[in-house]
Symmetry: C2
Subunit: 305 residues, 2 copies
């Protein structure tokens, strides 16, 4: 079971080397992450984009390009289409965003001919390693789907459980979060959380233990679970693996609070795609990009998106 | 300007000593906080509740009760009514919850004859002192009002601005938070945040600077504001004082994440009442209760609820 990004990297040592297809690879932090991923034996890469620019940037950072296949496509949309098709056709395992805007990148992911759509909604999982918490936390959806319905949440849980299992967490504990830990008819989020719990109990949500609604302290703080009346009898007692947020505002505000206040490691990938897709933002560090590649690689190894 | 709870305590040294009315004071952590508040010259207290129990608990903790007025009322509802009336009648300045459930306590706050209702909605502010952040953060509403409307949010801002001003923050910066920092018609929260900003600009929300929608990083992380395109030209650049949450789920999940991950000091009071009301929960430490008394005392000093 991976309890850290180091565990994920260790797990990858026995896996076959994966291949990235990078759209518009002319971006220094992206090339830096690609280089590190190769050095650590996680993934090779096919660099699609403006070859002159890629060479110029690589020279500046002392990166040896002779080990990479480069496909010279100057146009952004064409570069994205070319790169995503490599994954669609099985010539690469992971699709990664480079120097292009998210909208154009996502259009290529959803391209009907050469993209990676499954017909199911796209979502997103962010994986955190936080000092003082003895396991990885899988947060969803903090970045992509604004207002998931009950049906969406069921699907999101399934996606995220598969990512957690790819990281070796065989039966992840899933906490549908809310402000409170009891059902309150005036708070639809709590009613949905209870319904997700029931669906898990009757076997309609598999390979995990769902227990909601849960407040954040009962989800991730064992001492809170110890002290709160009735909390000890729950299925999750401060030991949740997957944190399912009510909506993107709750998710994103919590996510950014964690990044601001704790010294964390994190990585993230899209879910609901045929192959792992890395959609990191420009503000993400090289380390976040590398962690995301490692995460995508373990998921590609399991191929259970 | 108070940048910490120590600053608030220092500010109180020049203020008159306030008086607490405690409902059902037979509770050790509450008595401990009451004792510390007296020792530090913040507040005296009238203890309303089961006198035998109060004496038994005080003896066990070595608390000298001779310095306190005790009103012996065994019945919970009657004790709450008695205690709140002391504040209503001006015999005490701050109403504090002891050993009774929140529902009964709130009923007494809202009592039409002897309570502290103003005719406006009740809300809640939580004040955090967080290492690495050079000022107090005022979070609202993370505990009380589930789904504030636009009108509610306007009122909540007014309440919280008054609390911040009582703490010496003369013109607080208010961040209506969301997952994103641009208006998106598909996210009503962002539309409301922009409207609150406009209302501030035309003078309908006073004594503060409102700038929303804002993501958490732009609200509290100056380096994020430094790096994000367009962020430098905003009125808030990582230096928000007041964090206005979209709803109670986003607020409470963020609040509990902060408590779990950072070594914080915090205190909180109800807002929208005629006098400060302390509604801490059983799981709050003595320190949180004491900080809440200090916060209530500075607000009582300003009397601008």
């Amino acid at each position: 079971m991976s309890k850290s990004f180091d565990d994920i990297l260790a797990k990858l040592k026995t896996a076959s080397t994966k291949k990235l297809a990078v759209a518009c690879a002319q971006d220094e932090p992206v090339l830096e992450a690609v280089k590190l991923a190769k050095e650590r034996g996680i993934a090779d890469a096919i660099l699609v984009g403006d070859k002159d620019e890629i060479e110029r940037i690589a020279a500046g950072m002392g990166m040896d390009l002779s080990q990479y296949e480069i496909i010279d496509v100057k146009d952004t949309v064409e570069a994205a289409t070319t790169a995503v098709q490599l994954v669609h056709d099985g010539k690469a395992d992971i699709y990664m965003k480079g120097q292009l805007d998210s909208k154009t990148f996502l259009k290529s992911v959803l391209n009907k001919e050469v993209g990676l759509r499954t017909g199911r909604p796209l979502s997103h999982v962010c994986v955190f390693e936080i000092p003082g918490i003895d396991r990885l936390l899988f947060l969803t959806d903090v970045a992509f789907m604004p207002y998931p319905t009950l049906e969406d949440k069921k699907v999101i849980i399934e996606y995220t459980v598969n990512v957690a299992r790819a990281c070796g967490v065989e039966c992840p504990k899933v906490a549908p979060l809310a402000a409170v830990e009891v059902v309150n008819d005036k708070m639809p989020v709590t009613v949905e959380a209870a319904e997700l719990t029931r669906l898990n109990e009757i076997g309609e949500i598999k390979n995990c233990i769902v227990d909601g609604p849960l407040s954040m302290d009962l989800a991730i703080d064992p001492s809170a679970a110890e002290h709160k009346a009735g909390a000890k009898d729950r299925k999750i007692v401060g030991d949740a693996d997957i944190l399912l947020f009510p909506d993107i505002h709750a998710g994103n505000l919590t996510y950014k609070t964690i990044v601001r206040l704790a010294t964390v490691k994190n990585g993230n990938i899209l879910t609901g795609t045929k192959a792992p897709v890395i959609l990191t933002s420009r503000s993400d560090s090289v380390e976040v990009k590398l962690n995301s590649i490692a995460l995508a690689a373990v998921v590609a190894e399991e191929k259970n998106l």
